[in-house]
């Protein structure tokens, strides 16, 4: 007797587990239009057994055995299978933008899927081989509860969603399940779709309009005091990256301006200024930006001035241009160098500076 009581408790708890996993509400099968007053089971439990935590339902005319199937279909038996949602087709799962940390997924629901269908998405990376779940915030995690079940519109509808936070350079497998109704009876997981993330990419180069290989030298030429001199050569920086937040091109000088050793290290100071009005100065001015795709490339103030407005070139890394917080292909920025001397700027032929141009991808 004791054994039977234990077994009964275990059965109840197990059923509780089952319905807690697959259902969120359990009430008797009734509505404004109908009510099932009485129906029986063979040797099974009680038709209306229920508590706050579970309900038991049964049906007639089903046999809980035999599951005809082929490679294309599966026909289950029993009430659960009868009210089970249709398994969705394989989702459309692609890497839209050469991304390294996200893939685009669109649920392909069946044409007759009711609007109250809810879907959950399983995803596995090649490395782990273990399916996890797409969370409501489109990240991937192990958590799987009601929050993972969302309607078709909530999963982006026909536009789909970006599944984010993925591992670069990985093959991902995704499949979708559906559920509907009072018991939210979950379908089987549908067919698998595959997509791959790429690795982060970054290419970068520096040239000038007349030099394609280093060492690069840009001559401002002779500066006549009181006049602004401009380099004839322009510095060209080219960048391509799939960094999701784009990239920034930085420029940094070695001195705080143009320095002459023969003039006792006199330095024509650099500042962000209009050289037409300044007595003396040195700086860079972005002239053109372009790209093959993405971006667009964008000059950052103060390097985006016109005329003789220049941006400072000192020992700090200064943001010269960016890719508008977006991936870019063959993004290019050109800038020229300008200088002006005043009447007392010491004469010398060795004014110089060394610029370092680098790029940082914002991944």
């Amino acid at each position: 007797m004791k054994q039977k009581i234990i077994l009964l408790c275990i059965c109840i708890l197990s059923l509780s587990y089952l319905f807690k996993t697959n259902a969120s509400a359990q009430t008797a099968p009734t509505s404004n239009n109908y009510k099932i007053l009485d129906y029986g089971f063979g040797g099974g439990g009680t038709a209306s057994s229920s508590s706050n935590n579970y309900s038991l339902f049964g049906t007639l005319g089903q046999v809980d055995q035999g599951s005809p199937s082929s490679s294309n279909y599966f026909l289950g038996a029993g009430l659960e299978y009868e009210i089970m949602a249709s398994a969705p087709a394989a989702p459309t799962f692609v890497n839209q933008n050469n991304s390294y940390n996200k893939l685009h997924l669109t649920i392909n629901r069946g044409g007759n899927d009711p609007t109250d269908y809810q879907y959950a998405i399983q995803i596995a990376a090649s490395q782990s081989g273990t399916f996890q779940y797409v969370q409501a915030d489109n990240t991937v995690g192990s958590n799987f509860d009601n929050s993972n079940w969302q309607t078709y519109p909530a999963w982006g509808g026909s536009s789909g969603i970006d599944v984010i936070g993925l591992i670069p350079g990985s093959i991902y497998y995704a499949r979708v399940a559906a559920r509907q109704g009072q018991f939210y009876t979950q379908s089987d997981w549908g067919p698998i779709a595959t997509a791959s993330t790429v690795n982060p990419t970054m290419s970068f180069s520096v040239t000038t309009t007349s030099q394609s290989v280093p060492p690069f030298t840009v001559a401002i030429g002779t500066i006549n005091p009181g006049s602004v001199s401009t380099s004839s050569d322009k510095v060209i920086s080219t960048v391509s990256t799939n960094a999701v937040n784009g990239a920034v091109v930085y420029v940094q000088g070695t001195n705080t301006g143009l320095k002459s050793t023969t003039a006792a290290n006199y330095t024509i100071p650099s500042s962000s200024t209009d050289l037409a009005a300044a007595l003396e100065g040195y700086g860079a001015r972005g002239t053109t930006v372009s790209q093959s795709s993405g971006g667009p490339m964008n000059l950052i103030a103060p390097y985006n001035g016109s005329g003789n407005n220049v941006g400072i070139l000192d020992t700090s890394e200064r943001a010269l241009a960016d890719t508008s917080n977006s991936p870019i292909t063959s993004g290019q920025v050109q800038f020229e160098l300008k200088a002006k001397a005043k009447n007392t700027t010491p004469e010398a032929s060795d004014y110089s500076d060394i610029l370092t141009v680098v790029v940082g991808g914002d991944f």
Partner: protein, 357 residues
Amino acid sequence: MSRNKKLFLFIRNSKVITILQILALIFYVVYPLFSPTKANATITEGFVRFNRLSTGAAISGTACLKTSTSGTETGVVITFPLGWTISGTASNWTVSTSGLPLDPADGTTPATAWPGIGTATSVNGLNVVFPSSDLSTGTFYCFNFAGASSTIGSAGNDQTGSLKTQGGSPYVDNMTWATSIVTSNADQISVTASVSATMTFSLSGNSIALGTLSTSAVTSGNVTQTVSTNARNGWVSWIQGTSTTGGTGGGLHSSSANADIPSPSSFPNITDLASNTGVVIDVDSGTGSPTVAAGYDGSNSTSGGHFDGGVYHMTASNTVPASGNTITINVRAKVAATQAAASDYADTLVAVAAGQF
């Protein structure tokens, strides 16, 4: 098999089943407490930017992260690309939090110094581990790093590394980044320029009329000399007379009286005409404070120095480039009672300057 034996087996199996189900139940209850709710955290943005992208250059740069993951960070790990030379000595990896970049997301928000950052605590291959305190979500944190005895690897695109924060399972955040390395010094541009030499010189006038000279008072007149030059060592100016018929080689000469008012003494001695007669030159410093030569640096309004006909003597100088440096050239005279009367005492002074380039 007897009925009793079957019952025994059933009971025994039931016990096994019961135990298994109890274990399953315990697992069901307990597992969620240990189950991670989020395996792959997301990063709003992050980067590792190097100060040089040239192969062989010393490794230094800036690491930044803005996390959206709630976790308690205890360390940060930078993993450098394959083939880079990474010092295995943790103390070689130093950090700073000055001059941090702006958040590229908006281009205006200054970075927050990475809390708890310090000299690396360990190095394992390409992985350098720095200490860290807990990061708040949505804050753009950065720190600068430099690795002594560590150099960038070969040139090439798409060289990947990672920036990870410790304190999770196994990390709170794990960001992969890529950089591009160029050939030696192909990330630098040498900028050159020359500043041309300039020099301007002028006098405020070309005549000084002393009028009728006195035997008791000193008469003076002057012109202003202006010099501008960017000669890096400044400038020097000189003066000379034209008449050489004075008693000591310079002075004012009258053709009609065939007489001279001499410039007394000799250069670089100063003569005070308050107690002497003759004609002298005195120089006063003006704009730019040029240095007056001792030979013409009279101490009062009656003294001055000797000038010669045909021989330049330095009047003033400056050691730095000048913009509108001025000196006042005073000519002072007093005659003796025996000085021949004439109205045409005169001389032509020549003032010149040169830049010291």
